[in-house]
């Protein structure tokens, strides 16, 4: 046991030294020399399809922010930990980030699993944490947190918007089947969708509920089964390689033509799927953002952002990129609001948190607000259909509807599933939304 431990001792003695040198206590009043932002994202594993672009975005945004003088005049620095390294490494690294590197805020994380693991830890460590991408509504519904906020919407409005779009555009379907990844998001999103569907269209028959293993390489059997069952609608909230494979295999075998497909969060796969994605599939954007956002697409800053990202990474931003932007905007908004409240003096973390409650900030869409009661983010939802468009070698969104958050988000203090059961059958009819054409 000698060698490793002494080695370990040496390393961490160094670490301790470093820590003391680098530590800028973000206590009230005294202005720090830099704001450290610790970000948990997927750098390995399947979900790195979101994590890696988001990392690129974070670096880009931080750089840009510092050019503009940083947050409240303080430059920001970003560091990353890998959600893909597994629960243990994630927790250990998060602790290190908070306790040794003394970050001022953390953005964690993408997977609801990681959020469920890190949110209570952040609470323990009294660390302001923005759940910048994870979608499970339950986290903030089950427990009241002080230090955790969600800087975007959650699964309930996302699914509800998709369902509403389906009911508005294809109201008369009789049968539906679901093919979701077998993990929390896949299960929860279906629970939300099906609960709401039962309320609004009790006559619809669910002919198959398939939950193939997360990361399954092959869906041919599931597809055969769906081809045999011939459901009117097939819903999937899968993403990444799973969704790509499903769509392609289904396309190769004519399933996409046979049944109406709904890709709950398909926006992130459109560029990869290219021409393999047929026109007319219903696609959710997981929020109020899309690189051709009908209300934003002429905003020079927005265009510049997208161009810069395309130049940096070779592809247009996907939702995780915009969620990263929202996290930055939220933090900046909170700090600057707190400063104002603090008479221009540098705010303490507690003051920043007080400011964050009820904060309104703007990402690359309509405004987002952090609900004071339960810290849920209120964000609009874009849903559209895939469409071939000149100038793009992949499908884009058309006939986009933007759903305002108020109506489709679970009220504070209620559990999503219970709330959904209370929705009136004419809920969708009552939702009045604008529809935007691509390029229109």
């Amino acid at each position: 046991m000698i060698q490793p431990i002494t080695a370990l001792a040496r390393m961490s003695a160094a670490a301790a030294l470093a820590a003391t040198l680098l530590a800028f206590p973000a206590q009230a009043q005294d202005k720090p020399k830099e704001l450290k932002i610790g970000i948990a994202t997927f750098l390995s594993g399947p979900a790195s399809v979101f994590g890696v672009p988001a990392k690129a975005a974070a670096e880009m945004i931080a750089e840009d922010l510092n050019k503009k003088g940083g947050i409240g005049g303080v430059p920001v620095s970003v560091s990353f930990i890998d959600e893909g390294a597994g629960g243990e490494a994630l927790v250990s690294n998060y602790r290190r980030m908070v306790q040794d590197d003394k970050v001022d805020v953390t953005f964690a994380a993408i997977s609801s699993g990681s959020c469920g693991q890190l949110a209570p830890l952040a609470e323990d460590l009294k660390m302001l944490n923005l759940m910048w991408d994870c979608g499970a509504s339950s986290i903030l519904e089950a427990k009241k947190y002080r230090y955790n906020f969600r800087s975007q919407a959650n699964g309930t409005p996302e699914m509800l918007a998709v369902l509403a779009y389906l009911l508005k555009t294809k109201p008369d379907f009789k049968t539906i089947a679901v093919v979701n990844q077998d993990y929390a998001w896949g299960r929860e999103s279906w629970e939300i969708f099906s609960t709401a569907l039962k309320v609004m269209k009790p006559d619809v028959k669910v002919v198959a509920e398939l939950f193939p293993k997360f990361g399954a390489p092959d869906f041919s059997t599931e597809i055969s089964r769906l081809l045999a069952l011939k459901p009117d609608v097939v819903l999937t909230t899968s993403w990444g390689g799973d969704l790509d494979t499903l769509v392609r295999q289904a396309g190769q075998r004519g399933l996409l033509q046979q049944s109406a497909f709904v890709l709950g969060i398909g926006e992130s796969s459109m560029q990869r799927l290219g021409k393999d994605l047929p026109d007319g599939l219903i696609i959710g954007a997981r929020g109020d953002h899309w690189f051709l956002h009908p209300e934003m697409k002429n905003d020079p800053a927005f265009k510049a952002f997208n161009e810069a990202f395309k130049a940096k990474t070779g592809s247009w931003p996907i939702y995780s990129v915009y969620h990263m932007q929202q996290a930055f905007s939220a933090y900046q908004g909170a700090v600057e609001k707190a400063m104002k409240a603090n008479g221009g003096k540098w705010p303490s973390r507690e003051q920043v948190i007080d400011a964050a409650e009820g904060l309104e900030f703007k990402g690359w869409g309509r405004g987002v607000s952090l609900r004071p009661e339960d810290h849920q983010g209120l964000e609009a939802q874009i849903v559209g259909v895939s469409k071939t468009a000149p100038g793009y070698d992949f499908k884009v969104l058309d006939d986009m509807m933007i759903f305002e958050p108020k109506a489709i988000t679970t009220p504070a203090g209620q559990k999503s599933v219970d709330w959904l059961k209370t929705l009136p059958p004419d809920f969708v009819a009552k939702l009045n939304v604008q529809t935007f054409k691509h390029g229109g």
Binding site: M1, Q3, P4, S12, A85, Q117, A184, R187
Partner: protein
């Protein structure tokens, strides 16, 4: 002899570092707890390696331990840490007995394979039975009270650390005694000559079963500790790569005696910790290379290295 003496000092130093070090760097309290807890699991692997049997499914008992806590909290309610420390290992032991009765009839690769199969079945069930296990995301584990006293997060990580340290000392001592005992030597005899063992009137299967159940117990104990330190239990706990890690750590540290387990765990976790912090996308690579180097140049593991250099032949 001096190798023994050396190991003594190694332990003293190791314990000292494990005990004092986190007071300097709080964030290390949990990491060291993890190292020690995993070391306990690896002790179980080492026991089986005495008999020349490598289990590529041992993580299943680790998983059983972890989920004992998770399920209890989810379906029964909060309970004292002491209860978990008792319950987890015992239930793992029962699993070990059931599965053991089956697998001890096999040797070498088939032994490894069957353990693998069993662990994969457990893993699949944990992943698939979403409504009971919460699937791949696992079940959150709340911080339990110890002997009726509930601690603040900061205090608790130290409580858990020192408790784990104490447990490590106890189980290491017990395992060392076991390995030196008749049963332990008979276990080693399975590796070198099972036929002769039978011709001494000893049932190799029974001997192996005892070792297997003991190692399951340790796996369960480690699982409980890690689940509580991490405040979560996920199917990953039982996945085959996890089993691989444990065997990895055993070989890394050296299987000659109990201390190898902790030496190995310390190196493994520290390397992974720093690697995944500094160069997040190369930590597996680094660990892989470390493993190859160790196997090729120090097949007796770090402990072996220690003994060889400082005291000639390993004990």
């Amino acid at each position: 002899m001096s190798a023994r003496l050396l190991s003594r000092w190694a332990i003293v130093l190791g314990v000292a570092v494990a005990a004092i070090f986190p007071l300097v760097l709080p964030s290390w309290a949990t990491l060291i707890t993890l190292i020690l807890a995993k070391g306990i699991v690896v002790l179980g692997i080492i026991i089986l390696l005495q008999a020349g049997q490598v289990s590529f499914g041992h993580a299943m008992f680790y998983g059983v331990g972890a989920y004992t806590v998770a399920f209890w909290e989810r379906y029964v309610g909060a309970a004292d840490l002491m209860l978990f420390l008792l319950l987890g290992p015992v239930i793992a032991m029962l699993f070990g007995l059931l599965i053991g009765l089956f697998v001890v009839r096999y040797r070498e690769i088939f032994f490894g394979m069957l353990n693998l199969a069993f662990s994969m079945v457990l893993w699949s069930l944990l992943e698939k039975l979403y409504h009971y296990t919460n699937g791949a995301d696992g079940i959150r584990v709340a911080r339990p009270a110890l002997a009726g006293i509930s601690f603040s997060p900061e205090a608790f990580q130290y409580v858990l650390l020192y408790l784990t340290l104490a447990l490590v000392l106890v189980v290491s001592y017990a395992v060392q005694r076991y390995l030196d005992s008749p049963l332990g030597h008979m276990l080693r005899a399975i590796k070198s000559n099972e036929t002769r063992l039978e011709y001494l009137g000893i049932s190799a299967r029974r001997i192996l079963l005892i070792g297997y159940v003991a190692s399951a117990f340790l796996g369960g104990l480690g699982g409980v500790l890690v689940a509580i330190a991490q405040q979560i239990a996920t199917p990953e706990f039982a996945y085959w790569t996890k089993s691989g890690e444990f065997v990895f750590i055993a070989i890394l540290g050296g299987t000659a005696n109990a201390f190898g387990a902790f030496a190995g765990a310390a190196v493994f976790e520290t390397v992974r910790f720093f690697a995944s912090a500094q160069l997040a996308n190369a930590w597996q690579l680094i660990l892989g290379v470390v493993l190859i180097v160790i196997i090729m140049f120090a097949p007796n593991g770090l402990i072996g290295l220690l003994n060889r250099r400082k005291a000639g032949a390993p004990s």
